[in-house]
Symmetry: C2
Subunit: 216 residues, 2 copies
């Protein structure tokens, strides 16, 4: 039996993968609630280690909490700039207004009490983080197909964020997701456009049998 | 401007998300090399914090190395079973033969020297892990569209794996990926079928403004 999708379906999946961008510029018109539900549903279909489903999504509705999240990000942006020295000005230019402007703001957190999940994690405890990241990638790709942009902001103090959102002891926020309509998707990653770095050649990320052993 | 994909394209993206499975059963016929290159390319289009692209893929070609990876997984499976006590027998039944049977075996690792990447990681160092997980999820969804199964095995000792594959100091393996043709995709997650756990109700993973605050 052939489990291959049709050629147009395959192309659509690759299109979503290729045209997904980490967005920083948003329009502020609202996201349709049914679309939001579909996107959270897509995230919830992600793989998770030991089927632990360690993701929780906090939809920020209160404008004051949104403003407080923006303030946390600005504060950490300045601390990061100071830590970088010569590239400080570039870091100060990374746009965080998306947190204020996007149609929907979501904070994604790990659940507490993860210690009791041992399957696939006894030697690899970070698999819970991997599961949450896979959920976010699902949401991100589905959003791109639906014509919505997503920006994953990790420029914040997780302890301050946990306090702001009353996370229980042991939970840990991993993402502030800006979600919403955009004027245009960037033609290439924004960090490439501003000259921060370039995409590595595909041949340099693939080895055979051992590290550094490039395919013939 | 409307950035929405066409309805059939959107459906294809959701289909890949919904029909992707963590596979443990594989046929052993080979994966077409061009398909493998497309899948690695899809992974490489993932988002990465500070554009660090921290993923490296090691394609296992040598049958002896494949056998050694299988042995590492069996060893850790037994240790996990011992740690679980009453569910030990269930864990011993989790199938790891896919490592021997699948058409392509890949090990995915974090790069070394990640400390020099500070953007988006000063307070959230685990973002490098998130980036690798997003890359794997891209590959996983593209593989499903191409009709190929993927299983993410994290049942191994990462230090022993690092030694086996000559990873440099500071690199860390995150995944053994079994990739290949399958007889059939599971209709639901395998851990649900064997009664390990159930999928949470979507309403229980979404809060408003603060932890535990369920939407009205």
């Amino acid at each position: 039996m052939n489990h291959r999708f049709s050629d147009p379906e395959i192309a659509a999946v690759y299109r979503a993968i290729g045209e997904r961008r980490d967005m920083r510029h948003f329009r502020s018109d609202p996201v349709d609630p049914e679309t939001l539900t579909r996107l959270i549903g897509a995230a919830h279909l992600a793989p998770s280690v030991g089927y632990m489903q360690p993701w929780r999504f906090i939809r920020i509705v209160d404008p004051e909490i949104r403003a407080a999240i923006h303030a946390l990000a600005k504060d950490e942006q300045e601390k990061t700039a100071e830590a970088y020295g010569e590239r400080a000005e570039t870091i100060r230019k990374v746009k965080l207004e998306g947190i204020r402007e996007c149609g929907e703001l979501l904070v994604v957190s790990l659940i507490p009490d993860r210690e009791r999940y041992v399957l696939g994690r006894r030697t690899m405890p970070e698999m819970d983080i991997c599961s949450v990241a896979c959920a976010i990638q699902n949401l991100w790709l589905a959003a791109r197909a639906e014509g919505l942009g997503v920006g994953w902001v990790s420029i914040f103090d997780p302890d301050a964020m946990a306090q702001l959102l009353a996370l229980p002891q042991g939970a840990r926020p991993l993402a502030v997701l800006c979600l919403g309509h955009v004027e245009a998707f960037y033609p290439e990653p924004m960090l490439e456009t501003i000259g921060w770095d370039k995409r590595r050649d595909l041949r340099t990320i693939l080895f055979h049998d051992r590290w550094g052993n490039e395919p013939a």
